[in-house]
Symmetry: C2
Subunit: 447 residues, 2 copies
C-alpha cells in the first residue's frame, strides 16, 4: 500500500496487515514520520522510543508471515495515556515526581492490547496525575488552544494522526472533553467494562478507562479489545461484555429514541455550541424528546465533586506528604477540599449516586440514548490556563453510564465541537448502534 498510511483507520490497517497488503513496520514508520513532522508543536508524547515501536511492528509482521494467529489490532500502533503502567517504558503520570519511573508490571489493558497484536507506540502526555494541571500539549487544530484534559496527549495524538487509536481515562470529563476539543471520537464505556489494574488511581469510585479514534468503528474496536473481567479491579464485572463494534455496524431495528434534558447549567454553554446542538436536534426531528431540567441533575454535579475531592485527597496524601512542594496548586487545593469533607458527607454523596443510577435506568426503558453537550464549546485558548469545564460529563461518569462523543460540529473559531450520547449501563453496543444511526441521519439530512 502507498500514500498516507498514517491516516488509515485502525479497522482498515488491521485488515490490510492480516491480508498481507501492508506491513506493520511500514504503518508504524509512517506514523513515526508524522509524529516527527508535527510533534514539535503538538507535544503529545511523554515517552516515545521509535526503535522499540519498530521492534514490535517487525515481530507482528514475523508472526503474520509465519502463518500464526493474528489479533484484532495486529500490527496497529496504539498510544497510552501516561498513567497506564508499562514495564518496558517509563510511566510518569504527568508529574516530575515520577520522572523516569518504570513500573514492575504492565497494566491489565496493556496485556489485552498485546494479546490483540497491537504495537504499543508510546506514552501520551497527561495533566498532572490525570487531574487539572495542564501538560504542554497543544490542540492540533490550533496550537494556541488547549487539547483539553486530562487525556490531553491521547486526544491530540489521534487528532494529529500520530496513531489511529489512543487509550485515555476519565474521572470527570477527561476523555469526552479533549475528544470534543480535538475533533476525535471518544468513549468512556460502562463502569467496570475495562479493568483499571495498573493505572494511577485518583478515585476508585469514578476513574474509568476509555479511548480515542478518528472513526466510530475504530473506537468500538479499541474498546472491545480493552474490555475484560479482571477480579483485581473491584468495579470489573464477571459477565459477558457487549460488542461495541457489532453495535456500530448494526442497523437499528427501529429508529432510536433520544432524550434531551435542559440541563440546569445550560448557561455555561457557548452560543455556537448551543446553536449547533439545536441544528442536530432539529435534524433528528421527532426522534428527540426534550425534557425540562430535572432538579436531581444539578445536585449530581456537586455529588460527583464531593466524591472526587474526598477520594483524590486520600489517594494523593502519601505523595503530597513526601513531595508537597512538587505538586500543583490545583492538586493542593483539591486535597484541602477533600479533607474538609466529612465521612458523613462522603457517605451521603455515595447514597445519592446510587439513587441516580435508578433514575437513569428508568429513562433507558423509554430511550436508547441521552444527548448532551460534550463540552461547553470550542477548546479554550492556552492562556486560560485550564483544560476546560467538565460539567457536561460528570453526571454520566458518576452514574457509570457509557458515553460517546461524536465530532459533528464546528464552532465560531473553526475549532471542533462534539456531540455527546449517553447510553444504558452495559448496553454500550446499543449506544454505538444509536450513534451510527445519528451519524447516518445527519449525513442524509445534509444531502
Amino acid at each position: 500500500m502507498k500514500g498516507e498510511l498514517y491516516k488509515l483507520s485502525a479497522v482498515d490497517a488491521a485488515q490490510a496487515i492480516r491480508d498481507g497488503r501492508l506491513s506493520s513496520e511500514a504503518l508504524v514508520q509512517s506514523c513515526l514520520d508524522q509524529i516527527a513532522a508535527t510533534n514539535g508543536v503538538i507535544k503529545a508524547w511523554a515517552c516515545l522510543d521509535p526503535e522499540l515501536a519498530l521492534v514490535q511492528a517487525r515481530e507482528m509482521d514475523r508472526i503474520r508471515r509465519s502463518g500464526k494467529a493474528t489479533g484484532a489490532l495486529h500490527g496497529v500502533p496504539v498510544g497510552l495515556k501516561d498513567i497506564i503502567d508499562t514495564r518496558f517504558m517509563p510511566t510518569e503520570c504527568g508529574s516530575e515526581i515520577f520522572a523516569g519511573r518504570v513500573p514492575e508490571g504492565d497494566a491489565s489493558i496493556v496485556n489485552r492490547l498485546r494479546e490483540a497484536g497491537a504495537v504499543i507506540m508510546g506514552k501520551l502526555s497527561t495533566a498532572e496525575f490525570a487531574y487539572l494541571h495542564p501538560t504542554d500539549t497543544t490542540n492540533p487544530h490550533n496550537a494556541a488552544h488547549t487539547p483539553g484534559g486530562s487525556s490531553s496527549g491521547s486526544a491530540a495524538a489521534v487528532a494529529a494522526h500520530h496513531v489511529p487509536l489512543a487509550v485515555g481515562t476519565q474521572t470527570g470529563g477527561s476523555i469526552i472533553r479533549p475528544a470534543s476539543f480535538c475533533g476525535t471520537y471518544g468513549a468512556k464505556p460502562t463502569r467496570g467494562l475495562i479493568p483499571r489494574t495498573g493505572l494511577f488511581r485518583t478515585s476508585a469510585t469514578l476513574d474509568q478507562v476509555g479511548g480515542f479514534a478518528n472513526t466510530l468503528e475504530d473506537l468500538a474496536l479499541l474498546i472491545d479489545v480493552l474490555g475484560c473481567y479482571d477480579p483485581a479491579d473491584s468495579d470489573s464485572f464477571a459477565r459477558p461484555r457487549p460488542s461495541l463494534l457489532d453495535g456500530a455496524r448494526a442497523q437499528a431495528p427501529v429508529e432510536p429514541d433520544i432524550a434531551w434534558f435542559d440541563l440546569p447549567f445550560h448557561d455555561r454553554l457557548s452560543p455556537d455550541a448551543a446553536a449547533g446542538l439545536e441544528v442536530v436536534i432539529e435534524a433528528l426531528g421527532p426522534r428527540v424528546e426534550r425534557f425540562p431540567t430535572a432538579p436531581q441533575l444539578a445536585e449530581l454535579v456537586s455529588v460527583h465533586k464531593t466524591i472526587y475531592d474526598y477520594e483524590i485527597a486520600r489517594q494523593m496524601t502519601p505523595i503530597a506528604t513526601e513531595h508537597g512542594d512538587r505538586i500543583s496548586s490545583e492538586m493542593r487545593e483539591a486535597i484541602t477540599r477533600g479533607y474538609a469533607i466529612s465521612d458523613d458527607q462522603y457517605q451521603d454523596a455515595l447514597g445519592v449516586k446510587a439513587s441516580a443510577n435508578a433514575f437513569f435506568t428508568d429513562h433507558f426503558n423509554d430511550f436508547d440514548a441521552i444527548m448532551a453537550p460534550s463540552a461547553s464549546g470550542e477548546a479554550l485558548p492556552l492562556s486560560a490556563g485550564n483544560t476546560g469545564d467538565a460539567v457536561y460529563c460528570t453526571i454520566w461518569t458518576l452514574a457509570g453510564l457509557p458515553c460517546l462523543t461524536l465530532p459533528m460540529l464546528v464552532g465560531e473559531a473553526g475549532l471542533p465541537i462534539g456531540v455527546q450520547l449517553i447510553g444504558a449501563v452495559e448496553e454500550d453496543d446499543r449506544l454505538t448502534r444509536t450513534a451510527a444511526w445519528v451519524q447516518r441521519a445527519l449525513a442524509d439530512d445534509a444531502e
Copy 2:
C-alpha cells in the same frame, strides 16, 4: 425447545439461548436430571450443588431477557476438573487431605468462563492430585472399566451427557487418554495458550489445561473461551491466539498432509487399536506419509518422566511432609523417584526437551499434523487398578504441541478408541481444520 436438551451441543445450545428459543434454566435442569439418573453408577462429580447451578442459569436468562450482552457460552453448563480453584465451591484435588477446602479466589479460567456467560455446573472427580491414583469414577460405556485419568470425571461427565463441556488438565496424557477411553473429543492445546493460575500444580514445565466435548466445534469453542494471556503464568504468551472454532469450520485450502511415525513403543498398542488405525491410514491414502521410528522419540518418553518425577516430587513435598500417611503409594513412589534424580539429570532433560521442539518444528514445515494413537487401546477394566498408559501422549505434551483426540474407532469389547492428531505450536487452528478434514474424509469413505 423440547426433547433431550442435555444432548444438545454447546454450540447449538448457546445459539438457542441467545435466540430465546431455550432457557439456560431448562438446559441446566435437563443436565441435572441426567446426572441424577446416571451418576450413581458413573460417579463423575466431586462437588455438585444443583441449586447453585440453577441460580447461575436464571441469572444468565435474566441477562439475556434484559437485552444485555450474551457470551459465547451464554447459559451453557461447564464442568471443571477438581484441581481448578473455585471460591464458591470446594476444590479437593482428589485427595482427602483437601476435603472441604474452599479456595480464596477463582482460577483465571473460571473468570474466562464466567465472562463468556457459562454456568459453572460443579467440580469433576480427578485422580489424586491429577496424578495416578484413581478416583471411583466409572466409564459411561461400561461401568466395569476405567474412564481413564487423571481427568476422569471430566471425560465421563461429557461422555454421559451430564454437561456438554468439561475442563481438564494434562501433564502426561490426562486429557487425551480419558477422552479416548470415554469416546469424547479431547484437546490439550499449545503450551501457554490457556493460563494455569489457580490450578493445583504438579509440574510447572508440563501441566497444561484443555477440555472435553462431544463435537469438534464444541471443543474448539471451549478452548477459544479459555485461552488468554495471563502474566501470572510463566508459560502464558502475550501474543494473538488462534481461533480453534474458525479452524474447525474452515475448509483446508488444499488437502492436508499427515505424518505417521512408527513409534518405538508400538508393541504396547493393542491389536484392535493397531488394526483400527491402519484402516484410518488406508482410508486417507496418499495424504499420510509413514516414517520409520525416530530414535529421538523413545528418549523423549524418559525425558518427560525425568522432568515430571523431579518436579512433582518437589511440588508435593510440603503436603507429603505433613500428611505422608494420607497420600497414595503411587505418589509416594513418584516422590522417591523424583528425589533420586540429580539436578544435572534434570537440567539435561530440559535440554533434550528444547531440542525436541526444534525437531518437531522442522516436521511441521512439511506436514499439517502428526497422527498417533491416543491410548494403547480400549479402557482397561477397573480391576487393573490404574488409569492406563500415557506413553502415546507424553512426547507431545513434553514438546508443548497441541493435541486432539477424535472418537473414531471401536475396539473388540465395543468400547471407544480415539485417534490422536498433533499440530504445530500456536497453530491450533490449523490442527482443528485438519481434524475436521480427516473426519469428513472418513465419513465420505464410509459411504
